[in-house]
Symmetry: C2
Subunit: 517 residues, 2 copies
């Protein structure tokens, strides 16, 4: 293939000739020959890119991919025969099945010719067929192959808004919905809007999901940390918020927004309604945009805990749109659906002045629109089959099986962590992770330093090399200096989890035996 198609007529120049000839083709250049400048190097690219870090897919994961290749090319060469990816909330990669109804509707919308054919009824449920028909009928041009409205197809936004209203008991307006390719692009858009320079800051929980630190770094702003209190179950404490806001202001930072992740990532706590009310008041009083990461809204496992959206909390306090600015993020990637690869998400934007909304619309327009299949899936997630629908029983069975298994796994994981020597772990009340604290022996910290590694990176690297289990070191999420953690998803299949825990336990014991002070 190399040479077969090369055009014989092309001018063939040696590199030397190119490097020394004075001008370009027309020969009229007056510049002297110069050594070509190297157009790209770490010194010349945007330093903000270099500063950004994203540990969830960082060095440990890159090493895991290398080991996975070794397992294929040299079977038996490693002390394990499988890499278990506990680094990322990616349920279907670990065997979770998609919700059948969702996939039926998406497939039908992808190939709407099927809707006309009688044979389709042998393969698809009748309500999937009618739902797909309803959606297609309402898409302008009846096609899923056209760019949509920049905020997303109207019928999808209508269904999302209806789902929010049903969830909260307060109205939602489809004009406030911006459908995005997963939640991340919406976070980037807000950071782009809010951050003009490093003088602009965003209050972020620590530990935090590294999308936030990465996005703030990429957009050149300042991350203003507020620490969650590990000893009160990763509590979000108002005194801490106020203290950090004041410190940032004293340092000349203009704090623009507060990020709250509820249920927490990587920390798994579910906020109480009272706590949320305090947060809303704080944002109002201090003139902060509330960026509410609510992508784990369907992942609540702890008895007596319940997800409340920040918008619902604000409305139930009697606050109206003009009183407080809330951006709520949701995604098809989490919940019981776990459709990470489909890249659907939305943000509900309330309280924006009209002219700023215009700017947000323009930003959305530059990216044309999010993928239509993900848009449809997002609308299905917010408007799933209802009692009485043909697919409801199967849908509810699939959903409940996943959620109850996740709840059991969350419990199993945190219990197992608490049994490890020198490890303490808060319960995962929600979300998909445990984030245990590692009380590492001094000798382990020194051994890490000796090989120029952060101590929790050293631990997770050792774990990977010994067991094939991939976790993310706590330093990737930031943590109270001098403390060490790791994040582990609760997502390995339930029947595999005891084996994973056993491998981890055995590794951990050996590690402690090696380094115990």
């Amino acid at each position: 293939m190399q040479s077969g198609g090369g055009r014989a007529s092309a001018t063939l120049l040696s590199n030397d000739k190119i490097a020394t000839e004075g001008g370009v083709a027309d020969g009229k250049s007056e510049q002297k020959p110069t050594t070509p400048v190297s157009p790209l190097s770490l010194e010349t690219i945007n330093p903000k890119v270099i500063k950004a870090e994203y540990a969830v897919r960082g060095e440990i994961v890159i090493r895991a991919q290398t080991l996975q290749q070794e397992l294929i090319s040299k079977p038996g060469s490693l002390p394990f025969d499988e890499i278990i990816y506990c680094n990322i909330g990616n349920p279907q990669s670990l065997g979770q099945l998609p919700i059948t109804f969702f996939r039926e509707v998406i497939a039908l919308c992808d190939h709407p010719d099927l809707l006309k054919k009688p044979e389709t009824h042998a393969l698809f449920s009748s309500d999937a067929i009618s739902r797909a028909s309803q959606i297609i009928d309402k898409i302008p041009g009846r096609t899923t192959g056209a760019y949509s409205h920049s905020q997303g197809i109207k019928v999808c936004r209508d269904d999302i808004a209806a789902g929010i209203a049903a969830r909260d008991g307060y109205p939602s307006n489809s004009d406030d919905i911006y459908i995005t390719d997963g939640a991340s692009p919406g976070v980037h858009m807000m950071m782009q809007m809010l951050l003009s320079s490093e003088k602009d800051g965003i209050l972020c929980p620590i530990p935090q999901y590294p999308l936030y630190s990465a996005s703030i770094a990429l957009h050149g702003g300042t991350l203003v940390p507020y620490y969650l209190n590990e000893s009160s179950g990763w509590g979000l404490e108002m005194n801490e918020l106020k203290k950090q806001l004041q410190a940032a202001r004293d340092a000349g930072t203009s704090v623009r927004a507060l990020v709250v992740i509820n249920p927490g990532n990587p920390t798994g706590q579910v906020l109480s309604e009272e706590n949320q009310q305090d947060v809303v008041r704080f944002c109002m009083k201090e003139g902060l945009v509330l960026l509410a990461d609510e992508v784990y809204q369907h992942n609540v496992y702890a008895e007596g805990k319940k997800f409340n959206s920040f918008k619902k909390v604000a409305r139930s306090m009697g606050l109206e749109e003009k009183d407080v600015i809330i951006v709520s993020y949701q995604s098809v990637s989490k919940g019981y659906y776990g459709e990470c690869g489909r890249r659907g998400g939305y943000m509900e934007v309330t309280g924006f002045p009209e002219d700023v909304k215009g700017q947000l619309y323009k930003l959305a327009s530059v990216n044309l629109c999010s993928n239509v299949s993900g848009q449809i899936l997002m609308s299905l997630v917010m408007n799933p089959p209802k009692v009485g629908d043909k697919s409801y029983e199967q849908f509810a069975r699939e959903r409940d099986a996943i959620l109850s298994s996740l709840a059991r796994r969350a419990k199993m994981m945190s219990e197992a962590m608490n049994k490890l020597e020198g490890v303490s772990c808060n319960a995962a009340e929600g979300a998909m992770y445990v984030f245990p604290r590692l009380h590492l022996p001094e000798r382990a910290v020194k051994a890490a330093k000796a090989v120029d590694m952060v101590a929790d990176v050293f631990y997770t690297r050792r774990l990977l090399d010994a067991t094939g289990i991939v976790m993310v070191p706590g330093s990737g999420f930031r943590q109270v200096p001098g403390t060490w953690h790791f994040r582990c998803t609760i997502l390995p299949a339930e029947e595999k989890l005891p084996g994973v825990i056993k491998r981890l336990t055995t590794f951990h014991q050996k590690f402690m035996d090696e380094f115990r002070d």
Copy 2:
């Protein structure tokens, strides 16, 4: 719904109470009550966002959407009964049908349960079934619902690389492929890498596709214009490139890259191989990254013209990867496929130093991955059915019908434009647009100024209000100062095109009658 679900237990506070109470929930705040700062206004958001413009979905289009609502709410109130969107390259919104084989494979991959069922053979072609099976078998975890590798699923990148190699006759490496949600995110990634401040510049053709000006503005760099020569069919002239580079350097701008759009958007020219060789030499000599927008590679209509990728041209000159840095963009949105809503695209990145590649990988990772359905579609576009495949005949028939109709429409459009008084129009050799020059009477320019409008905005706004035809004013793409243009897609259905041309012609004649000097 408003009140039904509101929690009776929630604290209800009047706005007054909130505005005057001193602290947040714990009551320990020492700050005095302050009037809440307005967190968001045009004065406080990122000025780069305000600076960015995107005319393809700008004011004319927003007005068109308003008129469309009026057509529904007050039928008969406007002098037309339909809005015809000629503003954007969105073929399926104007009735173009998708390629059946592509949609079959995507639907099967979305709902792979179908692959096991015998009834599926009644609804899908056998090679679509086998292609979907091959893809699913090669996806880790056999699922399209998981986050993929940050650059895209390996099997999709392999198919894309094989397609590039077959197209060019030179090898392509799947490690160089970054699959993205359409081409736009890849452009943003490159701008993010290359632009640290306004001292960094990017050479862009004028007229240009406004994604480039918007992305450069958003990332805070400087657009360094080079003017295409309208009188030589929008020729890309080396003297102009050199002159503008020198001028930018003299002004202290560090020029990092050269954007070339081939076939041109909005200008429709197809570059000759000799011209491309000159461009490659120029980039080498001057140390510029060549950003090659090649999304219209399948849209070439002019006799004797042929698309050559810049990478192929460079390789046929004997240049290797280390000699020149080329980023080639492709998309599922254009060509004969026109799958804009699916958001698939890729960039092939060659010549990057390893450490900079690492930074690019990290940037891709922060966004997790592009949508899997779009990834699969992109791989199908680059590796479509071959002669002998069961679907080949239907595929080729559908493809050729679309391409030959586009060629006829391109010709019809430019001929019609050239018949208008005071309008001259280069042929659309490729892509999806005509970009005619409007020689506006002085009185029209003055009339526009009197209502504080740019003259070509005035013209397209009048056109919209009179006919329902939506075009983009040339100023949205930039143009030689003092000249006026508009961009019109060639995409209205072939049977509708004469009617569109007639409406335009009638409007234009009246417009000229009104303003003729």
